[in-house]
C-alpha cells in the first residue's frame, strides 16, 4: 500500500479531527456539536477494542512463557492467563457484567491489592524522604524545608505543640508553592499548544507513524 494511505491519511485524520474538536468548543454551531458528539461516541466504542487488543497481547506473550516453561516465569504467566480467561468467560455469560461473580471478583480480588498497594505508598514516601530528601543545594534545600513544614502542619501533635506550624504550612502552600504550580501549569499549557501544532502540521510524527 502506498505511503499515502499508510502515512498521510492517518496524519490528515489527526489534524482534521483535532481542529474540529477544538472548533466545537469555541463556536456555537450545531453541526459541529453533533459531529463531535458522534466522534466521542465512536472513540468510546474503539476504546473497548483497544482493551481487547491489550488482553490478547497479554495472553499471547504469557502463554509463550507457559509453553516454553520459562524459568522464574511460567507459573506467574499461567496465573495471568487463567485470570484473563476466567473473567472473560464470566463476563460473556448472560447476564454479562451483572453476573454476581464479577462483582465478587471486583470486591475481593481486584480491590484488596489495589487498596493495600495504595497504602504501601506511605512506606515508600517516608523511607524515600529519609534517603533522598536532602539539602544538597539551594533547590533541594527549598524542597526539603517545604516538605518538612507541610509534614509538621499535618501532624496534630506538632500543631498542638506550636500553632505556628499551621500558619507556616498554609503560607507555604498558598504563596510560594502556588506560584510554583502556576509556572508549572503555564509551562504545560505552552508545551501542549506547541506539541499540538507540531503534530497537526505533521512536523513531529515519531509517535503516530513510527517516524516514517
Amino acid at each position: 500500500m502506498s505511503a499515502f494511505m499508510k502515512r498521510d491519511v492517518p496524519l490528515l485524520i489527526v489534524t482534521v479531527v483535532g481542529v474540529t474538536v477544538m472548533a466545537e468548543y469555541f463556536f456555537a454551531i450545531k453541526q459541529l456539536a453533533d459531529g463531535v458528539k458522534t466522534l466521542t461516541e465512536w472513540v468510546s466504542i474503539i476504546f473497548g477494542f483497544t482493551l481487547a487488543l491489550g488482553a490478547i497481547n497479554m495472553v499471547i506473550i504469557n502463554s509463550r512463557y507457559v509453553i516454553r516453561r520459562a524459568k522464574e516465569r511460567w507459573f506467574d504467566s499461567l496465573l495471568i492467563v487463567v485470570g484473563v480467561v476466567a473473567v472473560t468467560i464470566a463476563g460473556f455469560i448472560p447476564p454479562f457484567t451483572r453476573h454476581w461473580t464479577l462483582k465478587w471478583l471486583y470486591d475481593y480480588i481486584y480491590t484488596p491489592p489495589a487498596g493495600t498497594l495504595y497504602g504501601m505508598l506511605t512506606f515508600y514516601m517516608i523511607s524515600a524522604a529519609y534517603r533522598a530528601v536532602k539539602a544538597r543545594n539551594l533547590e533541594s534545600a527549598a524542597f526539603t524545608l517545604s516538605a518538612f513544614f507541610l509534614v509538621m502542619k499535618n501532624a496534630p501533635i506538632a500543631v498542638s505543640a506550636w500553632r505556628g506550624f499551621t500558619d507556616i504550612g498554609i503560607w507555604i502552600s498558598d504563596v510560594p508553592a502556588a506560584a510554583g504550580w502556576r509556572a508549572f501549569y503555564i509551562g504545560a499549557a505552552i508545551g501542549t499548544v506547541a506539541l499540538t501544532m507540531r503534530t497537526f502540521l505533521w512536523r513531529e510524527r515519531g509517535a503516530i507513524t513510527g517516524g516514517e
Partner: protein
Amino acid sequence: MLHCRHYACTDSRKMISEHSWSEQALDRNCCTIAQLLLTLSGPNDCPEKEATVLIIAGRVVQFVFLLVFSVAIVIGIWLGGRRKFALRRLPALEAIDEAVGRAAEMGRPIHYNPGWYTLDSVEAPQTVAALNILNELAHKAFKANVPIITTLIRPDVIPLVDDIYRNAATSEAKPEMYKPENIRYLSGEQFAYFGGVAKIFGVEHPSASILMGGYMAYSLLMVELGVRHECFQIAGTASWHQIPFFAALADYTLISEELFVAGAYLSQDPHLIGSIFGQDVTRYITLALGLMGIALSAVGSKLFFDFLKL
C-alpha cells in the same frame, strides 16, 4: 428556544482554583451543545440578551490567545528553516545517551513506560510526547544493540510502540532488534501493572528505567522499584501531582514543558527547534500579560480581569 446558562456569568467562574483537573471539570459546561448564538454583552448580564456573535461568550480571549500562540509556533517552524537557534541544555535528555551506553556495556535492556493517559484523553499530548521520546530512544538503543522493554498501562498505544520498534530496527539495519514480545501490556489497573513491572525487573534486570508521560500514584512505586534494582533513572511528567516524586528520586527529571519539547530537542530537526523558539515567544507574551495585569491591579483597576472574562 433553549436558554444556555453560561458559566461566565456565574460565581464559580470568578473563583480561581489551583488545580488544572478540577478546572477542566469546571470547563465542561452546557454551552458545548448550545443551539443558539450567544451574546457578547459582557460577563455580568449575559444570559438573556441575544446577539449574533459566533464565538461563545467567555471564550473569545481564549480563542484569540490560542490563535496567537499557534501563529507564533508556525512562525517559529518557518524561521527554524532559515536561522539556527541555540537551545538551553537539558541534562535529562543528554542522559539518554548515558543510559544507552550503560545498558550496552552491561548487556542489559532498558525499561520504558509512556505513562498513564490514553490517546483520547485530555492528557493525550503527554503520552504522545513520551512516544516521541521513545522513537528517538529506540534508534539510539537499537543501534547499540540494546533492547527496550516497554511496559504499558494503556493498550491503545501498543500499535504505536510496535511501529516505532519496527521502523527503528529497519532504519538502523538491525532487524533482529524488532521484538514484539518486548511490548507488554500489564493491565490498566496501576497497582496490578506495578506488580507486573516488578516481576520484569526481577527477571530481566534492566540497567535503566525511563519513565515519561502523565502519571498517577504508581509513579512513586516505579521510581522506588528502580532504586531497589539500582537502575539509572530518567523521569519526566507534566502531571503536577506526581512530579515531586520524580524530582526527588530520579537521577534526571524533565519538568512540565520540558517533556513536550523533548522529542524536538532530541531530533535536532531545525524546524522543530524553531518551534521551540516559537514557544519562547509565547512565553514572552505570557510574561508581558502578567506584567500588564500587575500594573493594572496595582492601580486598583479591574480592567484586566474583565478582559480575561471575555
